[in-house]
Amino acid sequence: MRDLVVHYDTPLGAVKATDAVSFSLGAGERLGIAGESGSGKTTMALAILRLIRPPGRIAAGEIWLQDVDLMSLSPEAMRQVRLARIALIPQGSMNSLNPVTRIKEQILDALRDHDVRISRRQGQERVRELLESVGLRPEVADMFPHELSGGMKQRACIAIAISLRPRVIIADEPTSALDVVVQKQVMETLAKVQQDLGAAVILIGHDMGLMAQFVDRLGVMYAGKLVEISPVRDIFIGPLHPYTRMLIASLPSFEAKGTFHGIPGLLPLLRDLPPGCAFHPRCPHAFDRCQRDEPRPREIQPGSWASCHLL
């Protein structure tokens, strides 16, 4: 992804949901994108699949999948890419499955629309195989979404996502509504299927603990900008950007009891962002340059990028 800019047209003027976001993803790599609400992380994920609907629109930027710029594809060509090469696992809290059709139908209709010619029997077999690979009993194929628990619904979505052996899986807060025990089982399933497929995973979320334990590299977004992106171990050992540092410090931990380091100030409103670096009103190290010009992302250490005037 190079310099992606997504605008939302509102009665109060165009709002930049993501602003010049760039990053690269290796084959089979697990990249985490962490950020709080309004940071633009979900918008960025939907932009990759070109699913931004009005009033939103992709204003600028390129998204390369190996040697193809997705922005240049025709709508029909882009449709072919979805699921076959880039698949989405939706948010856990949403009702992402069609409430009135059985699970097997929702797997087979994806295969059919990607011109996969298989007989009915082969279809049933493929469905059973997919459900088993995500730890679901074969009977689930004939059940309706309302008959499944939260965890089972997410596993069904994972089964759908991997049905065409995609190269990239985007998981947008896949376990946000699940209990912590079920979350672990779902994430273990995701890890296993990713290894079997050798696919790359982009995990979008706000749970820093989940990021620490699952991803290889972590990007942190704030007010539509990618403020830092580094290997996950380095981020937790020595975070570069002040926001990342304060975010990690605010997390409840089992070591330091009774200490509370919140980040003062308010979350920024995308429609009237402060000049210069968007974080400067809340940043304890802010100095005059931070209020004037916007910091550019620079490679501070090999593989670690951050955009902050301090560095």
Binding site: L49, L51, R79, Q80, V81, R82, L83, A84, A87, L88, P90, Q91, M94, N95, S96, L97, N98, P99, V100, T101, D109, A110, R112, D113, H114, F144, H146, E147, C157, I160
Partner: protein, 334 residues
């Protein structure tokens, strides 16, 4: 689970039938004196060749519903009659039985009402769905304002306008009645064609108005479903827009539309009664109109009871169909 859902629906139906009979019995007695009896006596004094029959009827009426009899006994005998669908003789067209008159009129109303309701529901739902589909042709958008305006007018009003334009001015279609005066009813092509020509205007006045309503409702529902999460995920699955439109949006938007149909049956029928009166169409509506004009209580009560029961049945059928469309119904209690 489905059985007790249906059992409850049948219970509601039986309740509706009981209420129809009770309304018929108690409402006339609201004003203290018994209007049915006064009408009978008036008819008896008229005399004429049917005199003797009317006298017998008055005696029989007094025997069963005489004011000396306790009210609940009268009520019980009325319920027994209603259960046997026996509504006595029609006072105005004695010696013809009320059931005969109703039986003659019912096919016409079912023909008119059945076809127009299904036509307007089907057309309206399809049109509404299409209007919400981004892939729909551009000119469809200009269809919205006229549908809006038509939807606000009562059926019979449009009926009057249509009669004036298409029947009176251009004489394209017959203006009145169910079939030409001289035609001899029979299952031959000419008679059937004659009936159809007579039914076109009444049918049009219902369909043009009702279709707008269904289209508006469906379009609203389609717009809501298009915003649902399972549609976003369907797009992310790379499904063809037609698959998404039919199997994800339409399939879910049709549910509230069916419920709305069940609720709207009562109003549709009330509107149709007036259309029949305006067109002199030989259905239940016109028979009711004449019965009212001649104060023929037995005929009025017979028609009201039959129509309420028929509507209760139609609602029951729709309720039975609904779980087939929505699998969640038999899972959780309604």
């Amino acid at each position: 689970m489905r059985v007790d859902y249906l059992a409850r629906r049948c219970g509601v139906f039986v309740l509706i039938v009981w209420i129809a009979a009770t309304l018929n019995f108690f409402l006339p007695r609201l004003s203290g004196q018994d209007p049915v009896r006064t009408k009978l006596l008036q008819q008896a004094q008229l005399g004429g060749y049917v005199h003797s029959g009317i006298d017998a009827m008055v005696k029989d009426y007094d025997r069963r519903f005489g004011l000396d009899r306790p009210l609940w006994q009268q009520y019980l005998s009325y319920l027994r009659d209603a259960a046997r669908l026996d509504f006595n003789y029609s006072i105005a067209n004695y010696p013809r039985k009320v059931n005969e008159l109703i039986a003659e009129a019912v096919p016409w109303t079912i023909g008119l009402l059945g076809t127009t309701t299904l036509l307007s529901f089907g057309l309206g739902t399809f049109l509404g769905a299409l209007l919400a589909w981004p892939g729909a042709p551009r000119w469809m958008r200009y269809l919205m304002p006229p549908l809006w305006a038509l939807h606000a007018i009562p059926f019979f009003l449009l009926g009057l306008v249509l009669i004036y334009l298409l029947a009176f001015q251009i004489q394209l279609l017959p203006m009145f009645g169910g079939y030409s005066a001289g035609a001899f009813p029979g299952l031959n092509v000419t008679f059937v064609w004659d009936v159809i020509r007579h039914a076109i205007l009444p049918a049009m006045s219902i369909v043009l108005v009702a279709t707008g309503g269904w289209a508006l409702a469906m379009r609203g529902m389609m717009v809501t479903t298009q915003g649902e999460d399972y549609v976003t995920f369907a797009e992310a699955k790379g499904l063809r827009s037609l698959t998404i439109f039919v199997r994800y949006c339409l399939r879910n938007a049709i549910l509230p539309q069916t419920t709305a149909l069940a609720l709207a049956l009562g109003n549709i029928l009330s509107g149709a009664v007036l259309v029949e009166v305006i067109f002199g169409y030989p259905g239940i509506g016109t028979v009711l109109f004449h019965a009212i004009r001649e104060n023929d209580h037995f005929l009025i009560q017979g028609i009201v009871f039959t129509v309420i029961v028929a509507l209760g049945l139609a609602t029951l059928i729709l309720d039975a169909i609904y779980p087939l469309l929505d699998p969640r119904i038999n899972y959780r209690r309604t």
